[in-house]
Every structure is written in C-alpha cells, then in structure tokens.
C-alpha cells in the first residue's frame, strides 16, 4: 500500500498554514500513487476534534500520539513506530524547523532517503520524484528514492492548501515508546514572540526602500504602506540606505544582508543592482516603483511603475487601507 504519513504541527489550538499545505499535498500525491494520506499529530492531550479537522484537507486518518510538544525527537519515535507497523512508503513534512529536524532524524532512524527544501513533487509509475532548488536557487534538481521509505521535506509554505470537501477524518491513538534521547530535552518556554526584532524573513509582504526615497524621513512612506497591508508586512532596506544611516542593518536585504522570498516584494526607489537582487530575486511577486525608466530592477520585476514614489506611495497606501476596510 503506497500510503503517505504526513506530519502536522498544532500550536495554540490550530494547525499552521505549513501543516495544512503538507496535508493537502500528501492527500493529492497519495491519490496519484494509489494510496492514502494519514496525518500524525503529537502533543499533550491533543483535542480529537481538532485532529479530525485534517480530514477536510484530505487526510483519511489522523494518528494522535501523546508526548512533549515542540520537540522533534518524540516525533521521530512516533513516526518510526507508525511506519514500522506497516503500510507507509513516504513520510512528508511541510518544512519549518521541526519538519526539518524530524524528517532528518527519521531518515537516520529508518536508513531512508531524504530530500530537503522540496518545492514540487510528482508521481511517476507509482513512485514519487522530488524537485528541489540548488546552488542558490539557480538550478532545480530531481531526486528519486531508492529506499523502502522516502522522506520529503518541503520548503516552508511550498505546498498549497486545498480543502477537499471531505468530512472530518477518523482519529486513532498511536502508542509508542520514547527513545532515551527524546526524554533528555525539556521545553521551558515555547514560541516566545520578540516584538523588537523586525522579522524580515518571515513577512509575507515586504516594502523595501532604497536611495530613491531621498532621505531617512522617506521611510515613513514605506512604513505607512506596510502598516496598511497589515501585520504580515514589514519594511526592508538596501545596503546604500543602511550605510547612510536611514534604516537599521536588521532590515538590510542583499548580498551582505538577508535573503528573502516573500509573497510580495515592493521595491520603492531601488535601482535593482545585482548586489540587492540576489537577496530578493526569489520573491513570488516583485513590484518596483522608480522614476528612472532604465533602472535595472524593471528587468526582473513582475510589475514595474515608472513614476515619482512620493506621489504614488501615499495614494497607494490610502487605496490599500480602503480596500482592506471595505
């Protein structure tokens, strides 16, 4: 039976986007190889009705295991047990810190083939082939599995969430034993939010400012626009303006700053020199606003606006606010 065991992370009463995407993907792939997708959730007193909701994303069964939350090794033990009990050809994870740690530990435990940072999976002749970017996103590699069980670890948020219209899934308890190492780490504080840090790397939307903003105060325009988009938007900066002291280094994108790949990267007053490009070229959608029609950024932006950002940004901010409100 070509079943897929997929890991789902729950936190504060909900499954995160990443996990829902993983379950959706597992369900789709399982269908293509003639099997089922079963989800596994581990925690302390996991609510069964919460676990069952994974059926709406295609899981036919959800295994619930009792164990310490937020750590990888208990899940390696649980999943190894489930796989040993039989029936699974693949284990799938949606990426994220725990997905990586569990998937790698499981590969070691089972002697299984593992691929990380997977961006796409396809079925061929009843087997799965994983695709992942390599060499700094400059090429895509295809990998096949030669072991009885194959492990797929997706890139964070790479898998699309799909509600299948199915009812809740059947929930089953999984009993397993914790290995010695799994008992030797204790979670003291989980998921602390540190508001002071600007989380450039986690934001879905980045409003990035460059020299074209004219002066440090110009960043107010970027901040207003980010605020209009909401809490999943942040402000970023180029090295030139960070060097000039207009914005902090923590927000710097580029060859010597951070590398990001948000859903939307809006570059205001940025020329698009390659030192900056390498830090954001993986963004899903790139919008550029620059008054110089010859700026290199227009060569790789998805939408380019040639104009004065001092006129465009405030109007855009108002329009975004209005759209979000109404």
């Amino acid at each position: 039976m070509a079943n897929i065991l997929v890991y789902a992370l729950h936190y504060e009463g909900a499954f995160n986007k990443n996990s829902l995407g993983a379950v959706s993907e597992a369900a789709k792939l399982a269908g293509e190889i003639g099997g089922e997708a079963h989800a596994i959730v581990l925690g302390e007193n996991v609510p069964r009705d919460l676990a069952a909701t994974l059926g709406r994303y295609g899981a036919k069964k959800v295994l619930v295991a009792e164990g310490p939350e937020g750590l990888a090794q208990p899940l390696v033990d649980a999943m190894a047990k489930a796989i040993a009990d039989g029936g699974y050809s693949y284990a799938l994870f949606g990426g994220g810190l725990l997905g990586f740690e569990i998937g790698a530990g499981l590969a070691a435990r089972l002697g299984a083939g593992v691929v990380m940072e997977v961006t796409a999976v396809r079925a061929e002749g009843g087997k799965l082939i994983a695709e992942r970017p390599i060499l700094g996103d400059s090429a895509i590699s295809e990998i096949e599995y030669r072991s009885p069980v194959g492990i797929v670890i997706g890139r964070l948020n790479a898998f699309e969430i799909r509600e299948t219209g199915d009812a809740d899934a059947a929930v089953e308890d999984l009993s397993f034993e914790l290995s010695p190492q799994a008992t030797r780490a204790k979670m003291l504080i989980r998921g602390e939010q540190r508001g002071a840090d600007v989380d450039i790397e986690g934001a879905d939307i980045l409003i990035a400012g460059g020299r074209g903003l004219g002066k440090a105060e110009g960043f107010k325009l970027a901040e207003d626009l980010a605020a209009a988009f909401g809490s999943n938007a942040a402000v970023a900066a180029t090295r030139a303006v960070v060097d000039a002291g207009w914005y902090p280094y923590a927000a710097q994108i580029g060859q010597t700053g951070k590398t990001v790949a948000p859903k939307l990267y809006l570059a205001a007053g940025i020329s698009g020199a390659i030192q900056h490009k390498v830090g954001m070229q993986g963004s899903e959608n790139i919008v550029a606003i620059n008054k110089d029609a010859n700026a290199p950024i227009f060569e790789f932006s998805d939408l380019g606006v040639v104009g004065d950002l001092n006129k465009i940004l405030p109007k855009l901010t108002d329009a975004v606010k209005a759209k979000k409100a109404g």
Binding site: R239, A240, V242, D243, Y249, Q252, Q255, T256, G257, A273, I274, Q275, N294, P296, E299
Partner: protein
C-alpha cells in the same frame, strides 16, 4: 595656481591631498618584545608573481642547503598576502615573455604550464590596429610597432599563476599567510627589521569590535616588498629611505579587464591604439591609452576564452575619463563584436600599473629590505610587459638575500646592480624615453615613439621628465558622451562588475580609503568616473559648481590603486577583504 587649486579655471587634485602621513602611520619604530612577536627568516610582503617567485627561488636555494635552511629557523620563508588566497588580488593582460619562468621552474615544459591552468597558449599570430571611428579601423603593420611583437610569448593569467606558485612555495616549506595584510614596516635604528600584520575586527570608524584581534610583529632578517602597484609599505619606505631621490616621479596607468567565454576561438593577439576613437586626440584632454585582446585556450575545461582590456594613462585631464566605460565603449566596435558576441562574460577586474619606466624606478634596496616587481616600477608600458620582470626580479632578490645571509651580512645592495645588469635593466633602459612625449599630446607622442623604439632608445636623448598624475589640471569634459548604456548582457555597469569579482568586504569594515571629503566638483567628478568600482559618488543635490561632498562607498573597492595616483590614498585594508580574482 589659484588657492583652490584651479589653473586657468581647471582644478588640480594635488591641491587637495588626502589626510594621510605614510611615514607616521605605516612605519613602526622598534619591535615588540620577543615573546609577543613571530620570528621568520625572510618575510615577503605580497603573494603575487614577484613575491612568490622570490619565495620559490629562495626555497630552491635553501632546499640544496639544509644548513642554511636550519639557520633561518622554524619559518625560513613567510609570505604575507592580504587576499583570501594568492592570486585573489592579481590581474594583468597578459602576454608573458617566457624565459624567466622557464628559468624559475626549469623542469616544467610550456605544455605543463597549460595543464596546470595558468597558461593558455603560445602566440603565433598578432595584429595591431588604430581605431579610427566607432565602426572603422586601420591595420598597423607590426614592423612599425616592434614593441607589439609577441611571437613566441605565452598568454597567461597572473591570478592562476600565483595560485600555482603558492602551492609550490608551500610544498617547499614556505608559510603563506593569506587574509593577512602588512600594515606597518618595522624600522629600528635606520634599518628594516620586520613588518607588522594588520589588525582585524575594527569597525567603520576604526573602533575595536567585540572580536578585535591586534596584528603581530613579524621579525625578519630580510624583508622583500612585493606589494605591487603602489604598495602601502613601499610608499612609506620610499619616503623614509629617500629611495626616490633624483628619480622622476612615478606615474600610473589603469587597466580594466574582462574575460569572456567565446563561441569561436580567437586566433591571434590583438592590440589597438584608441585614438581618435574612443579617446580624444586633442592635447587638452591629455588622454592616452590602448587595448588588448588575447586568446586563452583553457586546457582544463576545453573552453575558448578571450581576455580583453583597456588601459588608460592616469595623467588625463578630462574628469569624465573612465577606463571601465571606455572598455565597454571599445566592445561596441565591430572588431570586438565579431569576437565576443554570442559569448558570455566570466570575469572582470581592474588594476593600476606603474608607467614611469626606467627613470621613475626608485632605488631598489634599503638597509634590511628590497623592492621587487611592480613595487619597484619594473613595467615596460610600451610593450605592456611586466610579468617576466616580476619573476626575474623576485629571483634576483632571492639570490642576493641568500648570498648575503649566508655570509652573515644584511646588506642587499648588490641586488640593485643585478637588476640593472639583467634583462630587466636592459629592456627598461631601451624604452626609458619612449612614452614621456605623450604628455604633450597623442600626436607629438606618436611622432617620437616610433623612432624611439626603433632606435632602441637612443632617441630622444637624455632623460625625459614626467609630471605627476595628480598635478594635471582637471576639467569636466565630454568623453562620457561616448559611453554606451549598460544592458546587463554585453555592456555592463560598474556594480554588477564588482559583484562578479566575488568582492566580500564586510559591511562594517573600517574605511581604508583616504580622500578629502569636500572638494571642487572637478576633483569629485575625476574620482567618480575614474574608479572602476563605483566607490565615489556625488550626492544628487550637490551644486553644479564649486565644492561638493564626496560619498565614499569603500566596501565596493577592488583595491586597484588608481585613487592613489589622482589625489587620494588607498591604505592597508583588512586582510581577507576585496575581490577574489580567479582567471584574470
């Protein structure tokens, strides 16, 4: 000259000297206590072709003389190199005369040079052209320009050659300290007794950061300054020991180079004169330059490559003269398009070279130290040849030092005579007056250059003078109007070029460039156009005339050295910073 340095309405960069006192900053008086310093036999500053040739030769001599090797201690030969690896900061054309390298590595055939990856074929065909317009050219018969005769020479990459020499040196027992800069010359009672390595972990304003690591004194029985063009310690040494007494001032040239993978192999070495296009003939622009295109057959990968470069003398007067943009302009000529189009750029780089020739060479030895290679000004700019002199001078320095230390002496002055008597001296002497006439303009220079070369230097007689590059009055002209717009595929801008050098200077590294921050626009424009890496910028709101502020993006710097010629000063950067040239 007016108080603001202007002369007939034009401004002279030398009137705005950089805030640096090389004798005070780059010379340390006396060594640290014994337990704090490192002691070596011979310390070589600079792991380029010359410095490593010295190391290679020294170790050959020591290899045959174990007793002497022992006398030099645990570290008989140390090479201090500021790049991440030897070759990382090295760049040249280059078509090399083969004899000195054959002398140095007697057991190697030229075929083996190519297998090692630093040589790319013997020159069998050559052409010289004069570019008469953006679309036309005139062939120049080689007999009229014998300096460009290259039959039998070898196309090489000094960056790859240095890597090979480094491996040889290390296998023979040298300690090659990469990512290490030499920040000061240590002088005690009138003699050079060692060098001090640079600090690491300083911040933007020089303040020590959390991981600050001070440099160390390296005590040596002999110091070889092989810093290339224009070395940090070399400049200080010249002042300290009056090595430039009775010499002509040194003048410089700036070369910007690209290496391309090409669809069809180039079958010959090509040199061009670039007047009347794209440089201006009129004397008021003061421009002089030339280009090269050399075929490179890479034996390791089987690829056909072409090395292409534009060299411009830095004594020009039009502030908008930009060697990088002139190279891009040159590429638009059909002569070049026919060779490069359909290909792919794989490398870019820039480097200054000393152009003064024989009369500008400083005295080559001082108590405790000697100068080799470009640091000693040993470049024949008429023929664009210097690599073989680097190797030869390194070997001669090694022989002189070995002999002196063996007899218990630390007087290396016979090295000077050895250089004079060798092919270095004879070749440079022949072209000693060839290029000075170009200071009066391209036409005057051309009239005199030919006879000068053909008479093997007998004409013009006497000693022709040089004027300092930074003493030329600058004006903002229109050379820039010829520059093509970058398209990112064939014509490139400066920033994307800096990117492919692998320049990895840390964001909060201390600023190693000294210039006055507020200067007349003419001077600021000079720097802005001249710098191939886009280090100098003028703020958009700066006034059109009068004084402007200069923005210094020093983290772009590829350490070519041109700024030192035109009113600024490149000082010792932090070791490990800068480009990582591979095939230049």
């Amino acid at each position: 000259m007016a108080r603001d340095g202007s002369s007939n309405g034009m401004v002279v960069p030398a009137a705005f000297p950089p805030p640096v006192d090389s004798r005070k900053e780059f010379i340390k008086r006396g060594l640290d206590p014994e337990d704090e310093l490192i002691e070596v036999g011979v310390a070589i500053v600079g792991g380029g072709t010359a410095g490593l040739a010295c190391a290679n030769r020294l170790l050959q001599l020591l290899g045959d003389d174990p007793e002497m090797m022992e006398r030099l201690g645990e570290v008989p030969v140390a090479v201090v190199e500021k790049a991440k690896t030897c070759g990382g900061h090295n760049l040249s054309g280059a078509v090399m005369r083969p004899q000195p390298l054959q002398e140095l590595f007697g057991d190697m055939s030229r075929e083996q040079w190519r297998e090692e990856g630093f040589a790319f074929g013997e020159v069998t065909k050559e052409s010289v052209y004069m570019l008469t317009s953006a679309k036309t050219k005139l062939p120049v018969p080689i007999p009229a320009v014998p300096n460009f005769k290259n039959h039998g020479n070898e196309v090489v990459s000094v960056s790859a050659l240095a890597r090979y020499q480094q491996r040889q040196a290390e296998e023979a027992g040298a300690y090659v300290l990469t990512e290490t800069s030499a920040a000061q010359l240590v002088v005690d009672e009138g003699r050079v007794v060692g060098v001090r390595s640079g600090d690491k972990g300083r911040g933007k304003d020089g303040e020590p950061l959390g991981n600050f690591e001070p440099g160390t004194d390296i005590k040596a029985k002999a110091v070889v300054l092989a810093e290339g063009c224009w070395g940090h310690l070399t400049g200080a040494a010249i002042k300290e020991f009056d090595l430039a007494e009775n010499r002509e001032p040194q003048v410089w040239e700036l070369g910007v180079k690209e290496v391309w993978k090409v669809p069809r192999p180039l079958d010959r070495v090509i040199h061009t004169f670039v007047q009347p296009w794209p440089l201006k003939v009129a004397a008021k622009y003061g421009q002089l330059g030339g280009t090269w295109m050399y075929p490179m057959k890479d034996e390791k990968t089987g690829e056909d490559l072409v090395s292409i470069g534009f060299v411009v003398d830095l004594n020009y007067r039009d502030a908008t003269t930009s060697a990088h943009d002139l190279l891009q302009t040159f590429k638009t000529h059909p002569l070049v398009k026919g060779i490069l189009e359909g290909g792919e750029r794989v490398a870019w780089g820039a480097k200054a070279l000393p152009g003064g020739g024989y009369w500008s060479m400083p005295k080559l030895s001082m108590p405790g130290a000697v100068l080799v290679g470009d640091a000693g000004g040993m470049v024949d700019t008429a023929a664009l040849k210097g690599v073989h002199h680097c190797i030869k001078s390194g070997m001669l320095a090694a022989e002189s030092i070995y002999a002196a230390l063996k007899r218990g002496s630390n007087d290396f002055s016979d090295y000077e005579d050895a250089v004079e008597r060798s092919t270095i001296g004879t070749e440079l002497y022949q072209v000693r007056n060839t290029r000075q006439a170009f200071q009066k303009g391209f036409l005057v220079g051309s009239l005199l250059a030919g006879p000068s070369i053909m008479s093997k230097g007998r004409v013009p007689p006497g000693r022709q003078q040089w004027h300092r590059d930074d003493a030329e009055p600058m004006f903002v002209g229109n050379t820039k109007d010829r520059y093509p717009k970058p398209d990112g595929k064939y014509v490139f801008d400066k920033l994307s070029s800096v990117f492919i050098t692998g320049n990895a200077t840390r964001d909060d590294a201390p600023n190693h460039i000294r210039v006055q921050k507020r200067v007349p626009r003419e001077v600021a424009e000079t720097w802005r156009w001249m710098c191939p890496a886009g280090v100098y910028e003028i703020p958009e709101e700066a006034p059109e005339k009068g004084e402007v502020d200069v923005i210094v993006n020093y983290t772009n710097c590829v350490q070519c050295g041109a700024i030192t010629a035109k009113g600024g000063r490149l000082t010792t950067p932090e070791g490990g910073d800068g480009p990582l040239y591979q095939v230049t």
